[in-house]
Every structure is written in C-alpha cells, then in structure tokens.
C-alpha cells in the first residue's frame, strides 16, 4: 500500500475454525492485511468466511489465532451495516437509529439530534416516526446505514449491504454510500465492505482483498487506481473486472 495513507488497523495472522457435530471446519487461515484511510472490499465466494472476518474486526468474535490491532488513539468507534436490515420492529425508525447512541452513553437529546442528522444523510428525515414494517426493503437498508453513520464511526464495516436489494435500489444506495465516503461530512477513516459481487468491488473500493474458498486465505490484493466517479462502461473498470474474475475463479 502507498505510504501516504495512514495506518488505521492491522489484521495479523488471524485464523478461525468451528466445530459442529464433532467435525472441525477451518474458516479462516492466517489472514494478514493492513487498512489505511481507504475503502477496502473483501471479496470471496459465498460461505468462505468473509462475514466471520468482519465480525472478528468488529470485536464480536474472537480469532483462534492472531489479532486485530487498531491504530487509533483510544477505542475505535465501529459502525456496522448488516446484510439484512436487523431493525427492531417495536421501535420507530428514529428509535432504532438512536438506540446504539444511548447504549454508548450519549445524552438523549444529542442522540436524537445525531440520529436525525444521519437519517437526513440517507434521505429518510421525513420518515423518522415510521415503524420498520411500514418501509420498503430499500428504506429499511437505509435505516440500517443511518444507524451505522449515527455513531460517527472511525471504521465503517458493511456485510454485503446491497446483496438483498433490487438492482436499481442497490445502484442508488451504492452511489450514496460513495458520496458519504468521499464528502467527508463524517469522520469515517476506513470502510471495510464484504461482498461477492466483483463489479461492485471494482466500482467502489480502493483496494480489493480476494479470499479463496473455505478455509479462506488471501489469494491476491488488488489496488484499484481508477479515478472516481467510475462507471461500468469505463474500459479500465471492465478490464479490472475481468482480471479480478480470474483470481476469483
């Protein structure tokens, strides 16, 4: 990686396996990479352990071996966008976005204000007193993103955030996320996104980490040096997509 980017976190020798019904499944094997102030995509086939890696970085799962080291003064604030919206059905949109802030000890009024700001960023400021069941799939996913933004994260983790949306909604949300990322209205230092969509990885990220099928190992790290905004039709994009496909298959 280029030296101009500050080191934000480092994944060192992470391995993980599960036991199920007496059998041991190796999921991750000796994963090493560094993350700077950049947008990183972890790309790999379904079930290869990408999400496990993300959860280890988020600190909700422990690796068997290795560690994740943050290079941020103090505790890293993590925003997490789940694959499915994971909203609490008994709370309004605003309540859902506010909850993590209240859990983090933010005073109620500040929390509500920050939640409203986050909802405004994703274009849902009008819907804050709606319940999740009253929203479309795309809107729910926006709330999911707003909830992650509201904590003003140092690191934004996204677990296949666009994979369960229709292509049009996914396209819109992708460019919104990129706008938020590049506008620096929020102090996000790094984004780590998990996906199995090659084109999405090339269009969005600065660096693609390609994992092998289970047990996942890093096959290749690809730097994406294509100027933004990128479109599907750009020759560089098409060429890189083809190249990445070769590593994946």
């Amino acid at each position: 990686m280029s030296l101009s980017k500050d080191l934000v976190l480092e994944v060192r020798g992470v391995s993980k396996s599960y036991t199920s019904g007496g059998k041991v499944f190796e999921v991750l094997k000796d994963i090493n990479f560094v993350v700077g102030r950049e947008y990183i995509t972890i790309l790999g086939p379904s079930g290869c352990g990408k999400s496990t890696l993300l959860r280890i970085i988020a600190g909700v799962e422990k690796p068997d071996k290795g560690e994740v080291v943050f290079n941020i003064g103090g505790k890293a604030r993590i925003g997490f966008v789940f694959q499915f919206p994971t909203l609490l059905p008994w709370m309004t949109v605003l309540g859902n976005v506010t909850l993590p802030l209240i859990a983090a000890g933010v005073p109620k009024n500040d929390a509500v204000e920050r939640a409203r700001r986050a909802l405004k960023i994703v274009g849902l400021e009008e819907l804050d007193d709606f319940y999740p069941s009253e929203l479309s799939g795309g809107m729910k996913q926006r709330v999911n993103i707003a909830r992650a933004l509201a904590v003003e994260p140092d690191i934004l983790l996204m677990d296949e955030p666009f994979s369960n949306l229709d292509p049009l909604t996914a396209e819109n949300l992708r460019s919104e996320v990129l706008d938020i990322w590049s506008s620096s209205i929020l102090p996000i230092k790094s984004v780590i996104m998990v996906t199995h969509n090659v084109e999405e990885a090339v269009l969005m990220s600065d660096k693609i980490i390609i994992l092998s099928p289970r047990p996942a190992r890093i096959v290749k790290v690809v730097d994406v040096n294509i100027p933004r905004p990128r479109t599907r039709k750009m020759t560089e994009v098409q060429e890189l997509v083809d190249r990445v496909y070769e590593y994946v298959s």
Binding site: F82, L88, P89, L99, A103, Y131, S133
Partner: protein
C-alpha cells in the same frame, strides 16, 4: 399398611404401567383428533366458524365440569370397570387436547399459499394432502405442544383416576390413585415411593420422547434429551405411521368408490367426535328438572356474587407468573447451561399433580390459607407462561438482533427493556392467555380445600363449583362451568386476542 417390599414394588409397577397406558392412549387419541379437527377447521370456513367458539368454550371448562358428563355417559351406561377406564381416558384427553388442536389449526392456517397451488396443480386427493402435507406441516407445532400437553395430562392424573360425584366414588388402579390413597392412609413409605416413581417416569418420558421430538422439529436449543434413544423410537413410530397411512389410503379409496364424494370422508370423523363431546349436556340437562329458568337465574346470581373474588385472584396470579417466567428466561438466556436445567426442572414440576404438595402445604393451611391458595393457583397457571416464554419465546430471539446488540454495546436495563422483553412479547401474551385459562381451572383446587375434618373455604367460583360437586348438584356444576367459560371467552376476545392480533402485524424481525 403392612406391605412387604415385593408387594410394594409390584403395586408400584402395575400402577405405573396402568397410568402410563392411560396417558399414551389419551395422547394418541388426542393427537388423531387434533390432526383431523385442526386440519378440517383450517381448510373449511364453515367448520372453522362453527368449531372455533365451541372449542374456546370446551377448552375453558374445568375438569370438574366434565365429571357429570363422564358419569352420565360412561359409568352409568358401561358400568364402573369399562366405563371407569373410558372416563379416565376421556378426562385426560380434556386436559391435553385443546392446545394440540389449536397448534395444528394455526400451522395449517399459516401454510404458504403456494403449497395449496402445488396440491391443486398435481391433483392431490384429500387423503394425500392430509398425510403428505398437513401432517408433516403440523409436526413442529405438535412436538412443541406435546410438551405442554403431556404435563397437563399428568397434572390431572389424580383427578382422572379418582372419579367422585356426590357420594359416589370410583377409584381406578393407577399411580395417581395410589398416591392419594397412600396419603389418606398416612402410609409415608408408599407415598414417597409413589412420588419418586411418578417423577422418574415423567423425567424419563421427557428425556427420551418429548424433548428430542421437539428438538428435532423446532429450533429450540434449551431442552435436554437423549437423541439416540429417541431415534429408535422415532423409527418404530415412522414405520407404524407409514403402514397406517397406507391402510388409510386404501380405506379412503374404498369409501370414495362407494360414497363418491371426497369431502364427506373428512367431515364424518370430526362431526362424530364433536357430537360425542357435546352429547351429554342437552339431553340429560332437561331430565334433571323442568323449572329450569328460575334455577338458571338462581345459579347465575350465585355465580355473579363469587366471580369478582376469582377474577382478581386469577389475573394477579397471571401477572406474578409472567414476572417469574421473564426473570427465569433472562437467567436462562444469559447462562445457557443453567437454562437447560431450569427448563428440565420445569417439565417435571409442572407435571406433578397438585395433590403432591399437600404434606408441605397442610401445616400452612390454618395459619396462612392465602399462601396455600396462591401456591395452588400458581401451580395451575405459571407453567403456561413458563413454557411459552422459555421454549417458544427464547428460541424466537433472533441471532441477528443479539449480534446487533453486541456490536453496539446494548446491555443491562437498556437491553432488557428495548430488546429482550419486546422480543418475547408475542410469547408473553400467548403464555398469559393460556395461563389465565389455567388459573381459572386451578381456582377449583385453590379456593376450597377439604382434608379430613379441616375445610378451608376461600370463596370464589372455584369454591362454588366444589360445593356443588360435593352436593352432587349436576345442574349447578354444568351451569357454573358454563358461566365461567363464558366469562373467560369474553375476556379473551375483548382483551388478549385484540392485543395479540395487533402486535403480530408488525412483529416480524428481518
């Protein structure tokens, strides 16, 4: 009194086998009836609108309310031996069938409509749909409901083996009547031996049958069970079921070729069974007395005077039971191993007939009658909230929501109030609904306690029913039971069902 050890063992083994036999026969009959009634009710609008209110009422009739019926049809017509045995099985059925019917009904009701298209496109006949779609589709709800039903059956075993009406009393040989007799005779050895046998049989039946059955067909993880023993039982049951299914299809084709209509076959059985359940009431009611209206009014007045007492007690007990269950659920949720033990203990404790607590409770009866009453009430109602919340509720807690709480550090009171309790709310309400039914039934045992010369009468509807039963007042029992069921059905329709429907609309976590 002076029994040798061998005699005692023989007595215990024979009694246990007889009781166990009754339980299994009652369970199997309930299962078959529940499948047929539940399926027909879910698939046929007319049957549904007819049976739903009837079942609601039958469900809330306390076991004592069935005694007159039992005496009139079984014992008076078939004699104490055959009639007694049938009465006992019938009474056990009345304490375990209702939630099984509703379980089957709701799982068929919630079946994906595309299954129906599939059945129509491939022209499945009613019998094929029944055997290959509806029965398998109800499996998980049958499994989970069996846990509750099995406990209910054992709980009323003592009542089902000692049939008394006024001065007449018939006792059937069995574990329930053995324990009662040992208690009355002051035979401590036999009493304790009976209790231990009962608890062991219950424990083994849960560990080898009901828990593994539920573990296999639902997502529940909080149960203890021996999968290997169960699997061999499962193989035998599957084989038997397979051959019964084959015979049923043959029979169906035979009847169809004679009768011609496919629907008739499926209407005959439930109609027969419902008629059977309802038959005794109207016919024999009128032969008791003709000046019925004035009597009805008098009984109604008695009932209204007593109902406020019971009403307050019932709903206080439901609230207490809910608090206890939610707390236990929280402990089980945070400490999983403790949780498995909590549920297992609940399964045994809930199955042991109320009667068993007498030696502990009797000394308290004179000084603290309210403690004793509260305890009996709780024993009859707590378990509904307990099982609903700890088995259904906890297994419905979504992994994704737990992960979300961990990632964003939602803990303690905030977790309890914003995540944990709201997640459990559907099962808290469903449990509360059944628990209030259980508490109404428990009022019979809790409000009027007669032991030897000692009589403690706490007033209330339960006490009223007891006094009517002691006096052999058939009309009184029938009317009081009916009034009580009506009150329960009205409260359920006005409060619980509305709230349940309201939350089920938006309570789907994605």
């Amino acid at each position: 009194m002076t029994q040798s050890i061998e005699e005692l063992v023989v007595e215990l083994v024979v009694s246990t086998l007889l009781s166990l036999g009754r339980m299994f026969v009652a369970y199997l009959l309930s299962l078959l009836l529940a499948l047929v009634i539940g399926v027909v009710m879910a698939r046929n609008k007319y049957v549904e609108s007819l049976l739903l209110p009837i079942l609601d009422i039958l469900q809330s009739i306390p076991i004592l309310g069935f005694f007159p019926a039992v005496f009139l049809i079984f014992i008076n017509t078939l004699g104490p031996i055959v009639g007694g045995e049938l009465s006992s099985i019938f009474l056990i059925i009345t304490s375990l069938i209702w939630n099984m019917i509703f379980g089957v009904y709701s799982s068929i009701k919630s079946l994906d409509p595309s299954v129906d298209y599939l059945a129509r496109i491939y022209r499945l006949s009613s019998i094929h749909k029944f055997l290959y779609i509806y029965v398998p589709a109800s499996r998980s709800s049958i499994a989970a409901n069996s846990i509750v039903s099995w406990a209910g059956g054992w709980f009323f075993l003592t009542s089902a083996e000692v049939l008394s009406m006024g001065k007449t009393e018939y006792r059937l040989k069995g574990l329930g009547s053995l324990i009662i007799k040992a208690f009355e005779d002051g035979n401590t050895t036999l009493y304790i031996a009976g209790l231990l046998t009962l608890s062991t049989v219950i424990l083994i039946s849960y560990l080898t049958i009901w828990n593994p059955f539920t573990m296999k067909y639902t997502d529940t993880k909080i149960l203890l069970g021996f999968m290997r023993v169960y699997n061999s039982i499962d193989r035998i049951v599957s084989k038997t079921w397979g051959s019964i299914a084959g015979k049923l299809i043959m029979m169906y084709n035979f009847i169809k070729s004679r009768v011609g209509s496919t629907h008739t076959v499926f209407l005959i059985l439930p109609i027969l069974s419902i008629q059977y359940l309802l038959y005794p009431y109207p016919k024999n009611l009128y032969s008791v007395d003709y000046s019925i209206l004035s009597k009805v009014l008098r009984y109604g007045e008695d009932f209204l005077l007593e109902v406020p007492n019971t009403l307050i007690r019932v709903y206080s007990v439901v609230v207490v039971g809910l608090v206890i269950s939610v707390l236990l659920a929280y402990i089980s949720h945070t400490r999983f191993r403790v949780g498995k033990l909590v549920v297992m203990s609940g399964e045994v404790l809930s199955s042991i007939p109320a009667m068993i607590w007498w030696p502990i409770l009797l000394p308290l009866l004179q000084g603290f009658p309210y403690v004793v009453m509260g305890f009996i009430y709780l024993q009859g109602s707590l378990w509904y909230t307990f099982f609903n919340i700890l088995i259904f509720g906890l297994s419905n807690l979504k992994g994704s929501i737990l992960e979300f709480s961990r990632i964003y550090g939602i803990r303690g009171v905030l977790y309890l109030s914003k995540v944990f309790i709201p997640s459990l709310l559907p099962s808290i309400l469903a449990g509360g609904l059944s628990a209030s039914g259980g508490a109404w039934n428990a009022s019979i045992a809790a409000e009027y306690i007669a032991f030897g010369d000692l009589i403690v009468d706490m007033g209330g509807v339960g006490s009223l029913l007891n006094k009517q039963a002691m006096a052999g007042d058939v009309l009184g029992i029938l009317l009081t039971s009916l009034f009580m069921s009506l009150i329960i059905v009205i409260i359920n329709k006005l409060v619980w069902v509305k709230v349940l429907r309201r939350i089920s609309g938006y309570y789907v976590v994605e």
